[in-house]
């Protein structure tokens, strides 16, 4: 059988780089195959997908050459960022954009849109709905619907769920499995829970774009577990492995821990609406509080209220000091943003790490020692002269945490710090946070990961419709019990 997608002896190098990313790389795909490409972040998986679809060099100019290159006639590409693949403000207009490109007659557009949207399970009261009002999962489904308009034989999926919560991730894979059944599907993804019963073949790349393995999923998982772990891939069981090596008894809270946050009848107000209302909550030093809840439940808003980004009412004591209007709690509380880029204030990784220490007015000698130590601990030494923006997503996240905790704040708030990270990086961050907590800090973080609750949280707060609906301590024995059942 003639392959539907094929590349032989591919050579590719990023502009400005002295080494090739792919050197004489060959691979082919048969019609109807479902293939998962795995590899560490930065190994060129996405680049490879773009090359197979012709986006490179068609839309992106990257030096490359191959002895043979077979690109599918009809293909569709789903990108990872839901906000960066639409050009129009409304659902119908975005769909129309694709249909116009295909020169669909105007009279047939509405019918075609209905057809495509129902294929991906989007039911809207009106086609003319703002895309910005949709959830991330819905946006990705819309992206899939647009792609289906192209009647693709081959689907390229470039981490389509990287920016989605667990619920959205499951939804998208259910949709993709349905619409991709009779197509060739080539997938790049590091959250592979839902992909494994879909993809039959796995291609494993190393950090330099070399082929490490190419085989059935059974073969790969049997023979290459170590490589998968080293590359930070979320293969089944990796969480359990990680959690099982946490020493028992680590989840204790110091008995006489000081109360660092005390709230009563505390309201966070945005516009004129009360977005979060906490009747009574006390947090001690040494606690690790995980906040869970659906999208839009008020989790981030709660953190924003604690940071005084929004107007608040009620009693808010921070280390016994009352926080009144106009007081900036940032002296005691550090905050790690969801997008680390926005919080970087310096021009190099080193300076970024040193920033909070400089603000505190420490001596230059002490600063240098502390910064060097922190950079080593967070594995950012080699990057210290780079601009923070030039780091990989994982490195950026580590830097944002490093720069936030270096000055030893008493309280650390984090908004989904492990979101979109690979396994290796997630575990590295959790290790650092746990160390930081053991030194006596309180951690409050928003997270969707149940495993973090299981492995690290000393308490869970569930928020729904702006109210705390669950406030439970998690005892050590419970965790032990849970890990036993795995």
């Amino acid at each position: 059988m003639k392959p539907i997608v094929q590349v032989e002896k591919l050579r590719l190098a990023f502009p400005g780089s002295k080494n090739m990313l792919f050197k004489d790389f060959s691979v082919s795909f048969n019609k109807g195959e479902k293939v998962l490409i795995l590899g560490p972040s930065g190994c060129g998986k996405s680049t490879f997908l773009q090359l197979l679809s012709g986006i490179i060099p068609g839309s992106i100019d990257i030096p490359c050459r191959a002895e043979a290159l077979e690109i599918p006639q009809e293909w569709g590409y789903v990108f990872q960022d839901p906000d960066a693949q639409f050009c129009m403000p409304y659902v119908d207009e975005e769909m129309a954009f694709v249909l116009e490109n295909l020169q669909t007659p105007r009279e047939k557009m509405a019918e075609r849109m209905e057809e495509l949207l129902s294929a991906v399970g989007i039911r809207l009261p009106a086609l003319h709905t703002k895309i910005q009002s949709l959830s991330g999962g819905m946006k990705q489904r819309l992206a899939i619907a647009s792609v289906l308009a192209l009647k693709p034989e081959v689907l390229f999926l470039d981490e389509p769920t990287a920016m989605l919560d667990p619920e959205g991730t499951k939804d998208i894979w259910d949709t993709l499995k349905k619409v991709g059944r009779d197509k060739t599907v080539i997938i790049v993804e590091h959250k592979i829970d839902h992909v494994l019963d879909f993809a039959g073949r796995i291609i494993l790349l190393d950090g330099n774009g070399n082929l490490m393995a190419d085989g059935t999923k059974g073969e790969i998982f049997a023979r290459h577990r170590t490589e998968l772990r080293e590359q930070g891939i979320w293969f089944p069981g990796v969480w359990e492995e990680y959690i099982s090596q946490i020493p028992a008894g680590s989840k204790s809270i110091p008995a006489n821990g000081k109360e660092v946050i005390s709230l009563s009848d505390f309201k966070g107000i945005h516009g004129k609406e009360v977005k979060i209302h906490v009747d009574d909550l006390k947090v001690q030093a040494g606690e690790w509080v995980v906040i869970t809840g659906k999208n839009g439940a008020g989790k981030s808003t709660f953190l924003h209220a604690l940071m005084q980004f929004i107007k608040t009412k009620g009693n808010y004591l921070l280390k016994g000091k009352r926080i009144l209007k106009g007081v900036n709690p940032a002296k005691e509380v550090a905050f790690v943003f969801q997008n680390p880029e926005f919080q970087f204030v310096a021009g190099t990784v080193y300076e970024e790490t040193a920033f909070s220490l400089r603000m505190k007015g420490l001596e230059e000698g002490n600063i240098a020692a502390m910064v060097e130590n922190t950079l080593r601990v967070f594995a950012l030494e080699k990057q210290q002269h780079l601009h923070p923006y030039q780091l990989s997503t994982g490195q950026k996240r580590r830097l944002s945490v490093a720069a936030s905790i270096i000055a030893d704040p008493d309280i650390l708030l984090l908004d989904e710090p492990t979101f979109g990270q690979d396994a290796k990086n997630t575990f590295a961050i959790l290790d650092k946070l746990e160390e930081f907590r053991k030194k006596g800090a309180a951690i409050i973080m928003v997270s969707h990961d149940e495993q973090i609750v299981e492995g690290f949280a000393t308490r869970v707060l569930a928020i729904d419709h702006g109210r705390i609906i669950k406030n439970e301590y998690i005892l050590e024995s419970e965790r032990a019990g849970m890990t036993c059942t795995v």
Binding site: S53, Y77, D83, A84, E100, N101, R106, I131
Partner: protein
């Protein structure tokens, strides 16, 4: 600011957007040529009438939108009134020298600014940007690559505004404060613009790649989801201004509101 809380659609909404744009640009040019305060005054009243009666917004909101007009009027006319050339002195106080000529010319410049502001806002309040770009593609042969780039950029504005807010919060959290002086000013500007710009560039790049992945071609043929054309409202719009310009000219000669001043 095409207001999302759907105002009543009026005949101004029905006018072909390209034609509406061309007409208001021509009117702007005509205004540059009007040096007669009386004539300009009539014209301004005519523009304000459209703005107040036919943008489809409730009166309260119209009042709110008009606040900047007066800022524009006052601030534009004052410089000329206080520091303009002239012979017939009304008041002299240090550097300030108000003359009859400078006073009238000040009013003229202020009215011109006010009428322009009202014209522009009337357009913005009655024109959906998406329809404007569809019309520019269909009637003015604007290349789709430009039209869709604009529409994509407009879609990103609220997201950018949100990001700007996040950056402000982040600076607060990190304890970052701008310093005084020119260096401080530059650092403050780059502290906000570098993250926003780099994010915008990357996002624009991704959107462009996604657009081409959806088979957008620079030179490709296409159909249009929104069909824009012409109607009697277009004739009415042009007719309205022709009558206003003619009548204003007549009134300024026959029944001037202000004393005629020769500059």
């Amino acid at each position: 600011m095409y207001i999302e809380w759907s105002p009543k659609e009026t005949w101004l909404h029905q006018i072909n957007p390209s034609l509406k744009l061309l007409v208001i640009i021509s009117l702007f040019t005509v205004m540059l040529l009007i040096d007669d305060l009386n004539y300009l005054f009539s014209f301004t009243i005519a523009v304000l009438l459209l703005f107040i009666l036919f943008t489809g917004h409730p009166f309260k909101r119209i009042l709110l939108f008009s606040i900047p007009f007066f800022v524009v009027f006052v601030s534009t006319s004052f410089t000329m009134i206080l520091f303009g050339k002239g012979e017939t002195t009304i008041l002299k106080f240090g550097l300030i020298h108000i003359t009859e000529e400078s006073f009238y010319r000040g009013l003229l410049v202020g009215l011109r600014a006010l009428a322009t502001a009202a014209l522009g806002l009337t357009f913005a309040l009655t024109t959906k940007p998406v329809l404007l770009f569809y019309s520019l593609m269909q009637q003015m042969k604007l290349r789709p690559a430009y039209a869709y780039s604009f529409m994509a950029a407009m879609r990103m504005l609220p997201i950018m505004a949100e990001e700007f807010q996040t950056i402000r919060h982040a600076r607060k959290v990190r304890g970052w404060e701008g310093k005084k002086g020119a260096g401080g000013f530059f650092r403050k500007i780059s502290a906000y613009s570098i993250p926003l710009l780099s994010q915008s560039i990357r996002r624009a790049h991704r959107i462009a790649v996604a657009m081409e992945a959806k088979r957008f071609r620079m030179a490709g043929q296409r159909t249009y989801y929104y069909q824009t054309g012409f109607s009697w409202n277009d004739v009415l719009f042009i007719g309205y201004f022709l009558v206003v310009l003619a009548a204003g000219y007549y009134f300024s000669a026959e029944w001037p509101y202000f004393k005629q001043v020769n500059f």
